[in-house]
């Protein structure tokens, strides 16, 4: 892959890719600041726009949007105490107290520098790990892929930020059943189509994602009404930005530890940014000589979640690109986009499209740097975007979703899928069924079934249990399920970090 580093750099800077990177970053920042809208929504809405673009421009636009979300989300969390999406929540624990002390610029500077460094380090790790991962994945055959998918789904089922474990498992089963609609990959038997021709090729993932994330959010916004934030916009002029940036180097130990946490947790399917940032914050509190300062405006409390959140995006590409198993929800949507573009993540990707992988890495770094530059230049002005009224935004999201779904192939069936999944997504949100548990099985269901059937055909049942990697992955699945149901201990550990160390402080802030 390394021999492609320079040629890919040339392609990355070739017009119009930089323009689309900029467009992606700006759209991503908009969605990052607006509460309720985040990575999945922006990626789902951008996907229909990419299908007539050249793959390079499409990839850099999508990655640009994705990389802009964490930092712009944190901007609203730090300056307005308005975490628009889950991973930004931890940034508000100490970011907002700093803002109240008149040090908003200091916190934003720390956040921006953490984001840039984390993206750079994460991308270097990604570049180093991918070729090694390629060698590992070559040892994989059908049983290993099946067990890998099963392990991923088990993780997704038990690591749920929303709802109960039980509902998480039900949602995984539902996602798999939806993935099974259409022709069976081995026998060609059409299943669960009920005579509907549209369903013969299965559910198209892109309109399903548009519905789950964009339409459902539109419904939610219109029902809630009012403005995205009722609070006053933050002070537009930020002071102490440079000192904040330097503070990352003064707290480099916290930064590196959080970066490692983000890198590790980013690779585990289903973990996502919310848990990663909370764990990184908890680690920063525990390792600090002055834990009592956290929640009062300690800059390490901003650096830790930012470092973890931005590094998890880079490492999240490892399972996504190597195995085709999305690590978190944004990756699931991105996987759908790559499929639309004719790029199939999986073991062969590094041999067939190494330049596309490098494009992802370059765009990730460049996107973070551009976002940080814009955030630091425009400061609190951006937070005024959060004053948009929901009834104004929701119909535009609806129209864009419906037109986008229709534009994919001009099929009314795609629009019906978007609408159905939109309502389903809204109900799932309200009744505590985690959406990620539906999306990841949708993405990996095909891989899982093909691997399962091919194993049975080629090796029989013993194929799953006689190969060492497959057996090891099976043990991992059993361990995941055993520990998740043993006593809910892990839940208490994470929640206690979220609530007792930080959440309490956060709730105090809410009360203020």
């Amino acid at each position: 892959m390394y021999q492609h580093l320079l040629p890919a750099m040339g392609t990355f800077f070739a017009w119009p890719a930089p323009l689309f990177l900029m467009v992606g970053v700006l759209v991503g920042m908009l969605f990052g600041i607006l509460p309720g809208l985040g990575g999945p929504q922006v990626l789902a809405l951008l996907t229909p726009l990419t299908y007539k673009m050249d793959p390079t421009s499409a990839i850099v636009m999508m990655i640009g949007a994705m990389s802009a979300i964490p930092l712009s989300g944190s901007l609203a969390a730090i300056l307005l105490n308005l975490p628009g999406h889950a991973p930004s929540v931890a940034s508000s624990f100490d970011g907002y107290p700093l803002t109240r002390q008149g040090k908003g610029g200091y916190a934003v500077g720390a956040s921006a520098m953490s984001a840039i460094l984390a993206a750079v380090i994460g991308s270097v790790i990604l570049t180093l790990v991918l070729p090694v991962g390629e060698k590992v994945v070559l040892a994989f055959s059908f049983p290993e892929f099946f067990m890998m998918a099963l392990a991923g789904l088990s993780m997704v089922a038990v690591i749920s930020r929303q709802g109960s474990l039980w509902k998480g498992m039900i949602t995984v089963a539902l996602g798999l059943m939806i993935a099974f609609i259409g022709s069976d990959p081995v026998t060609g038997t059409t299943r669960f189509t009920f005579g509907n021709l549209y369903l013969y090729d299965g559910i198209n993932i892109v309109p399903a994602l548009i519905g789950l994330f964009a339409v459902s959010e539109g419904i939610s916004m219109l029902l809630q009404g009012g403005k995205l934030t009722e609070g006053a916009p933050a002070n537009a002029h930020l002071r102490g930005v440079w000192a904040g940036m330097k503070s990352v180097f003064q707290n480099f130990g916290v930064f590196i530890r959080s970066n490692l946490i983000g890198t590790f947790m980013g690779m585990i399917p289903g973990v996502g940014g919310a848990i990663t940032t909370i764990v990184a914050y908890g680690q920063a509190v525990q390792s600090s000589k002055h834990p009592e300062r956290f929640g009062q405006g300690e800059v390490a409390g901003v650096i830790a979640p930012e470092a973890a959140n931005n590094s998890k995006d880079a490492s999240g590409f490892i399972p996504t690109l190597i195995f085709g198993i999305p690590s978190h929800i944004e990756m699931a949507v991105l996987l759908g986009t790559l499929t639309v573009l004719g790029i199939n993540p999986g073991p062969r990707l590094m041999q067939t499209d190494p330049d596309k992988i490098l494009m992802v890495i370059y765009a990730l770094v460049a996107g973070n740097v551009i976002t940080a530059a814009i955030v630091l230049l425009t400061g609190g002005y951006l937070t005024k975007l959060a004053l948009v009224s929901k009834p104004l935004l929701a119909p535009i999201i609806f129209a864009l979703s419906i037109v986008g779904a229709y534009a994919l192939a001009g099929k009314t069936g795609d629009v019906v899928v978007a609408l159905t999944f939109g309502v389903l997504g809204f109900i799932m949100d309200r009744f505590g069924f985690p959406k990620i548990n539906l999306v990841i099985p949708l993405m990996v269901g095909g891989l899982m079934e093909t691997s399962f059937n091919q194993t049975l055909l080629a090796m029989g049942w013993q194929g799953f249990f006689t190969r060492p990697i497959s057996l090891a992955l099976f043990v991992v699945v059993l361990l995941i399920l055993f520990f998740s149901f043993r006593s809910g201990r892990a839940t208490r550990v994470v929640n206690s970090q979220a609530r007792s160390k930080a959440g309490g402080v956060h709730e105090d802030n809410q009360a203020d």
Partner: protein, 171 residues
């Protein structure tokens, strides 16, 4: 009978149960290799939903099976939107369901969206999107008519630039 959860939560459980059970029954008709995964997964799904339904229906079952509502690892802080959405929760994780008024509103929204789809076929996507944004922001969002008009015109211009000029999409 007083149920553990609101009626709409139970109805949703019931729909899921019928769905999984239906898929399991249909799955039995396929040839063995085509049903190897779908059949057991639909049966497992049906069993899981059945137990969930029982816990949502009967308080003694709910108390006897605490693991059904055990939280997933990682349930932590909430975003601004979630704080608003979950303001009506009674016990942690136990939603109150939706009021009848909200269900009607969702139904109305779905009708609006269905009309948008139909209108797209008849009058083209640009005019349909413009009318949709104008009417929904004005009637559902209760914005001033000229605010709605501006947002509708803005949307039409944006769509024209993106889909017609930039993407050359033919609808």
């Amino acid at each position: 009978m007083k149920t553990t959860k609101p009626i709409d939560v139970i109805v949703f459980d019931g729909v899921l149960l019928i769905l999984f059970a239906g898929l399991a029954i249909v799955g039995t008709q396929y040839q063995p290799m085509a049903r190897e995964l779908p059949l057991p997964i639909s049966i497992i799904g049906a069993v899981l939903v059945f137990i969930l339904l029982l816990t949502d229906l009967f308080r003694p079952v709910n108390r006897a099976l605490p693991f059904v509502y055990r939280k997933g690892i990682g349930t932590g802080g909430r975003t601004a939107n979630e704080r608003q959405e979950h303001a009506g929760e009674t016990v942690e994780g136990q939603q109150d369901g939706l009021a009848a008024r909200e269900w009607l509103r969702i139904l109305r929204l779905v009708c609006w969206l269905a009309m948008l789809v139909i209108a797209m076929q008849w009058i083209g996507y640009l005019a349909a999107s413009g009318c949709f944004v104008f009417l929904v922001t004005w009637l559902e969002g209760r914005l001033k008519w000229w605010h709605s008009l501006i947002s509708a015109l803005g949307t039409v211009c944006f769509f024209y630039v993106i889909f017609n000029l930039f993407l050359s999409v033919t609808f």
